[in-house]
């Protein structure tokens, strides 16, 4: 560590120094540059304690434990994230690495950092709001995705109102931020299957009304990505009840039929994978059946010419043939059944 000289500071000293420097930055004193330098220096020291450096091994467990303890008790993690936009470019990356490393800490079955963040969920909310600031968005993204690995943290995020901001973040004009936000969004909804299945079921209306916005987005990438994710979510058995609910709503069917006709071949293809579930459903509700019957001939004709260049893809062709057959065989329900269905 030639740059920082003697690194024999104790964890509590480093934490204290970093905290002071961050507070100075926050206050916006005249000595901003000096404070920034201090932050950089102390983050460097902390990083080498956790990761080791070219000359030294990572510090022993006791030192790391003390460091983490100091981080929790001083509430430095929150302070660090709140001031992330104020620190130097390279140090932002150091901060994210330190955060992720401490987060992964585990003692037996316990994950103390996760417990700490659970008791201070502001950390998570601050991270999510990071997507609103261009200079820290990607750093916050890596930290958020690390948090997603833990069910408890994922749950806090999903069940917070701030989660719905993601529907905005995935559409921001800066492409790399929008994609980063989308990958975090996807991670949140797919990482912990049971959690997200419960979440989607309990918040069905709110989530899917927002989701509709993504599917109707002006932005091609958003439309395509969200449609693909929708297909994945619906066809995951964990979300079985969400799927049955989704495919019984005629509005959703109309949307998918419109997407089948989109200009983009890729969107058509993704839409096909959602559309097929509506048709394959053995218990189609009357409104769905009505729409399909009304368009029976047109659909058969359309599907016969649909993506005929995909001759290599056996699965797709099998499914397409199956759908055509299903639609051809559709019959209006007999009168008595109709009564039962409306009942």
């Amino acid at each position: 560590m030639p740059l920082f000289g003697r690194s024999q500071k104790s964890p509590s000293e480093v934490v204290k120094a970093l905290k002071e420097a961050l507070s100075a930055l926050e206050r916006g004193d005249k000595k901003v540059e000096k404070a920034q330098e201090d932050v950089t220096k102390n983050l460097g020291v902390m990083k080498s304690m956790l990761f080791g450096s070219s000359e030294a091994e990572p510090q022993n467990d006791i030192l790391v434990a003390t460091l983490s303890q100091e981080l929790y008790s001083s509430n430095l993690l929150l302070l660090l994230i709140q001031n992330l936009h104020r620190i130097e470019f390279e140090s932002k990356k150091d901060a994210a690495q330190i955060f992720n490393n401490v987060l992964r800490r585990q003692i037996g079955t316990r994950t103390p950092t996760v417990e700490h963040i659970c008791s201070r969920p502001e950390i998570l909310f601050t991270l999510m709001h990071g997507y609103e600031q261009q200079e820290i968005a990607l750093n916050c993204g890596t930290m958020l995705r690390e948090c997603c690995r833990y069910e408890a943290l994922c749950k806090i995020i999903l069940y917070s109102d701030d989660f719905y901001n993601f529907f905005k973040y995935v559409e921001v004009s800066t492409f790399d931020i929008a994609s980063d936000a989308f990958s975090t969004f996807k991670e949140l909804l797919t990482r912990h299957k049971m959690l997200s299945a419960d979440f989607l079921e309990n918040n069905y209306e709110r989530v899917f009304s927002h989701y509709q916005g993504l599917l109707n987005s002006e932005n091609y990438v958003t439309r395509r990505q969200s449609l693909k994710l929708l297909g994945e979510l619906l066809l995951d058995r964990h979300n079985f009840s969400v799927m049955t609910r989704y495919i019984s709503n005629p509005e959703n069917l109309k949307l998918m039929m419109n997407m089948l006709k989109e200009k983009s071949k890729n969107i058509q293809f993704e839409a096909f994978h959602v559309f097929k579930v509506f048709v394959a459903n053995p218990n189609k509700p009357k409104p769905i059946l009505d729409i399909l019957l009304r368009n029976q001939d047109k659909l058969v004709e359309f599907l016969s010419k649909f993506h005929t260049d995909r001759s290599e893809d056996e699965q797709f062709n099998d499914e397409k043939a199956y759908l055509i057959k299903q639609i051809k065989e559709l019959k209006p329900p007999p009168q008595d059944l109709k009564l039962e269905a409306t009942h």
Binding site: T109, E151, K193, D236, R237, F240, M243, V277, A280, N281
Partner: protein, 492 residues
């Protein structure tokens, strides 16, 4: 057996040939062919026609000089598979045996014992074979009932791959063989997950009736790993790591509606990075995405890994719970080296699975005992769900690396498992076709080499290696001619 005896008599008293003579024999058009043996090819030079033999032989005038060896590069790679067709004909008694056979072939081979000194070996020529103009083949990785698995190099992407070669002839012989292959291909095409083996490409060779499945390259499986250790088990921390990966793979599969139905260490492979890959979807089943539950009716898995509901022969059962049970048996096996239920035969085994209490090794930590108990719960509805397992204390626990990691066993003495396609590529671009500079190794040389290899022990302290060389030794003791290659003589 009597034929073998007869041929013994014939070769009796024949001495060894000098190497110069061998060269002559070869040129003289006597039977010669090669069989691979270990990393060498055996060149067997013609057996001279002897006077006493001619007397025994019927007077068939056709001269059969070339020998066709049906399974020239059989995996057995054993020199005991030598067949000879003597120049001149066959003994009369053999003729009689086969004369009435419909399948009678004029080039019927005559079996003759070959003195080991008559066998010489040459370095196996690594002739590069490229399939579909894209995949350069390497060495054999393994062999199953469906065919061989070889290493290969994707010449377009330069990625290291494994290719599963499926022979139609072989598949037909297996019950449900063709159906299982189709099922595996169909499933693998739609699956994509880090813990599930990837299928990249499919190629068909219609003339050879072979299907090539280009898959992710794996260095071995958990079964090999266990077998390479003395106590047939892994350290707890290592087993924990694999188990967590298995859970992630199973979670994905079940999410896709796929019930694997044959989870066991033998079907859990490892990539070069040590990532676990669930493989072998031959008996897996896809649940209709719209089916309300996971009820299944058929199982073809491995008996020792079957749950009580299948062992007792129930008509329908929950598919996902079958995989949970098998995961439980797998974890039990990885950690203890034994199976929770055993039996001399399948009936006993099933009886024990259904009614016997599981023996829980007392030296396991309580949370692990609890987990195994939950996964190996006989009543499917009370058995842990995947979600319960994932949240279980033992699964969530962090296990530091407290003991040496059991490494992936070496293959052909190579602990690094370096790419075996390279010698073939080298031969393709720099090799020469003429055989003149080929060096021959005699049986005696081989013996010496083998002794040296064993003596020095520089091939690692791997028990795997030792057992392998002892196996070779064992093979050598067997009769030089084995009956099993006579399959082509059987009436079809």
């Amino acid at each position: 057996m009597s034929k073998e005896k007869g041929s013994d008599d014939i070769t009796d008293g024949q001495g060894a040939y000098g190497s110069g003579e061998r060269e002559d024999k070869k040129k003289g058009g006597l039977a010669s062919f090669t069989i691979s043996y270990d990393d060498l090819d055996a060149v067997v030079l013609g057996v001279p026609v002897r006077e006493e033999m001619k007397e025994n032989v019927s007077l068939h005038e056709n001269e059969h000089e070339s020998v066709t060896l049906t399974d020239g590069v059989d995996s057995e790679k054993c020199i005991s598979h030598l067949f000879f067709l003597p120049k001149g004909g066959y003994p009369a008694d053999m003729m009689m045996d086969f004369a009435t056979d419909d399948d009678f072939h004029p080039a019927l081979p005559f079996f003759q014992r070959v003195d080991s000194a008559d066998i010489i070996y040459e370095q196996k020529k690594k002739r590069c074979k490229i399939i579909a103009g894209r995949y350069a083949m390497g060495d054999l990785l393994g062999e199953g009932s469906y065919g061989k698995v070889k290493e290969c190099l994707d010449c377009e992407t330069l990625c290291r791959r494994a290719v599963k070669i499926l022979k139609k002839k072989k598949i037909r012989r297996i019950p449900n063989g063709e159906q299982n292959v189709q099922r595996e291909i169909r499933l693998l095409k739609r699956l994509s997950h880090p813990n599930v083996i990837g299928l990249f490409d499919l190629q068909y060779d219609d003339t050879k009736k072979k299907t090539y499945m280009i898959m992710e390259y794996c260095v071995g499986g958990l079964q090999e790993l266990i077998e390479s250790t003395e106590k047939k088990k892994l350290p707890v921390w290592q087993a924990h790591g694999y188990f967590c990966q298995l859970l992630r793979g199973i979670e994905y599969l079940h999410g896709q509606g796929v019930v694997h139905k044959d989870i066991k260490p033998g079907n859990l492979l490892l990539s070069t990075e040590g990532v676990l890959k669930i493989s072998d979807f031959g008996v897996a089943e896809l649940i209709d995405p719209l089916a309300p539950d996971d009820t299944l009716t058929m199982s073809q898995g491995t008996p020792a890994f079957q749950p009580p509901e299948i062992a007792s022969g129930q008509d329908t059962f929950s598919g996902f719970k079958v995989d949970i049970w098998a995961c439980g048996v797998t974890l039990y096996n990885l950690i203890t080296g034994i199976y929770p239920f055993e039996g001399d035969n399948i009936y006993r085994l099933y009886e024990n699975i259904v009614s016997r209490e599981m023996l829980m090794p007392t030296d396991l930590e309580p949370s692990l005992q609890n987990l195994l108990q939950g996964m190996l719960e006989k009543e499917p509805s009370k058995r842990f769900t995947l979600y319960q397992i994932q949240r279980h204390d033992w699964v969530k626990k962090h296990f530091p690396m407290t003991s040496e990691c059991v490494p992936i066993p070496a293959m052909n003495g190579d602990t690094c498992r370096s790419m075996t396609v390279i010698p073939y590529l080298h031969n393709l671009h720099f090799g020469s076709d003429d055989d003149e500079d080929v060096e021959y190794v005699t049986e005696h040389d081989l013996e010496v080499m083998r002794g040296r290899r064993k003596g020095s022990g520089d091939f690692g302290n791997h028990s795997g290696i030792h057992s392998k060389s002892s196996k070779e030794k064992h093979k050598k003791d067997k009769a030089m001619i084995r009956k099993r290659n006579l399959s082509f003589c059987k009436p079809s």
